[in-house]
Symmetry: C2
Subunit: 415 residues, 2 copies
Amino acid sequence: MEYLETLGQKAVAAKYELQKLSTEAKNGALQAVAAALVKETDRILAANQKDYEIAKQGGMAEGLLDRLKLTDARIEGMAEGLRQIVELYDPVGEVMETFDRPNGLHISKVRVPMGVIGIIYEARPNVTADAFGLCFKTGNAVILKGGKDAFYSNEAITEIIRETLCNRQILADAIQLITDNDRAVTTAFMQLKQYVDVLIPRGGAGLIRAVVENSTIPVIETGTGNCHIYVDEDADLEQAIPIIVNAKTQRIGVCNDCESLLVHEKIADRFLPALGEALKAKNVEMRGDRKVMTLIPDALEATEEDYGTEYLDYIISMKTVASVDEAVAHINKYNTRHSDAILTENTAHAETFLQGVDSACVYVNASTRFTDGFEFGFGAEIGISTQKLHARGPMGLKELTTYKYLIRGNGQIRK
Amino acid sequence: MEYLETLGQKAVAAKYELQKLSTEAKNGALQAVAAALVKETDRILAANQKDYEIAKQGGMAEGLLDRLKLTDARIEGMAEGLRQIVELYDPVGEVMETFDRPNGLHISKVRVPMGVIGIIYEARPNVTADAFGLCFKTGNAVILKGGKDAFYSNEAITEIIRETLCNRQILADAIQLITDNDRAVTTAFMQLKQYVDVLIPRGGAGLIRAVVENSTIPVIETGTGNCHIYVDEDADLEQAIPIIVNAKTQRIGVCNDCESLLVHEKIADRFLPALGEALKAKNVEMRGDRKVMTLIPDALEATEEDYGTEYLDYIISMKTVASVDEAVAHINKYNTRHSDAILTENTAHAETFLQGVDSACVYVNASTRFTDGFEFGFGAEIGISTQKLHARGPMGLKELTTYKYLIRGNGQIRK
């Protein structure tokens, strides 16, 4: 497709310029973009209003409409996000390692930008400014494909960023938005391997599956989380209830919330009735095995499918197990390699769980809700990787870089 | 496919056992496998003879027949490779980072095996033992799909490894060979995402393209190298000729050999005639632009296609350029992100080149042939990555691992 070819070529041209920018130049531009977004609030709101009306007429659900809607405060939030990125350490240029070889070659491993990053995301327009900020700070050009429901909002935000860069003598193609909403264009974008170095999908399971299946560009899978909490026979049961309630209900619809609970059968009698009351008070629907159903009268029966489901809703699956080993095996069968927790005062059980569970983040005695770039202290987050290649778990600025080897010699040839 | 499902399930079962093995247990098994391969030399040679005869009858070219052929010495070489892996540092379990959060969470980032690694390779049977050794040392289960031309050899080597592991109470499924040579099985293997964490193709450009296009498993692209040397106006011309001859001819058919040469026009008159003589003496066919053809009478005319070709043969493309910037732009247009070199005594030109060239390995005053895990001092090599995700350049043991975050708390919930 000629349209995408042109986009790709422009991004590549921009990447060679961006990798030369100093941290100061990048920070100055980010500050200017933050100011411009606030200054142009009315322009963004007008565009957003267009999206909102189309979506409302199209019958979009209330929750999604709310995510789409921009306000003065949300635009200020975007600007503040960019200002926070200014404060973060610029990883580009960091010398990660140096070593000398017996033949006199001096090798250094240096952190460099990825080059061109593609991001495909759904209807939240704040991702546009956020993704730009993170990619720009790390010297990458970004090509964005946002959801068509936020089209006018994304377009307005992108234009304001491009104008600001242009005014500062920086190539506007540091950010490009795919404005053709044809599905075939999105699929072709996933195969723009010649120009795009990495593709990051941000959105629901369907989007991520489509990207994994169609992309020839290396993908970082993010986001789906069927997270578990296992309450061990040696758990502090008083501590357990607030942790579970927090992990399930503090925020619904996020990838690090708890979807499934395992309880050691030895403490089920003592623990489940009280937990059932606490979850019921938060309007959580419980689906469990026979034992759970006996101890929590409100619990429905869980099917095999429940154990593999990321509800993103006020629903939790529950199961009793006979040992920490059974808990680990169950989790490794059903989880999405995201975040899982054990609640126990028994160090040996904790270690078995930490070692055995195959997830990006494995917790002892804490809520799974902490799997997050900000909570980890990275100061930013582009997503949470659920794959093992490159980055795992919360990804900050460092994870948007790669490295290259610089080898300095004085005439060495291979014998 | 039921066959692959079973294979995948067995590999997953093995991965959970392998990640628990101590370094001593892994080293002991590797030593035992090395001894078994030597002891069973006759059995391997008999299987290899079968492959060799089928290949010869099928009209396989001499060079490929030579790569397929095993001898006592080559089997001893495989065993020695495994013994060398025993000596290497085991990266699994290494604590890469620890940090404490203000809320009291203690986070550690720990190196862990990938899990299940898939390797698809062509007709060299020594890869079977080598890939097993590297994956096993890093606690990974491996599923191998070798070229059908080496089928009996690969099968014999795999069987000997499995028998040895079994005798040591280690799950034999640490190594599995796909024995169904149907192409549809190989394609389905590339989509065994539920069980395989990473897929590494080792072979020619066609194999790698097929894997990138068909795989839904994260892939590490390896191997294709259209490597350049740029002779700057400020090069030490006496040093330049041996470096170029080495990079082009020391070993033909490898990914880090030099395929294309750029020469600053200011030194072309002084340099090209002598270089032409040196390359001619090594039977290298030269294909250049007008200026090259004028200065080297034997040079043929280069087409646009030549500049993008990885010859893997006694052929080199040549071009004159007006500046280091032109050289960098040409290289970034035609290279495969593998290895490129500048020859210069001018520090500013060297820095421009090091910064500007988008390759895994960028050299100053040395042959590109050093891009190699052993030459870099890694002690082993599973391949040379030409992508930017995860690993770039030579990949040793560390690059066969990922990490996970272990988070220890005492009741933290998210506010």
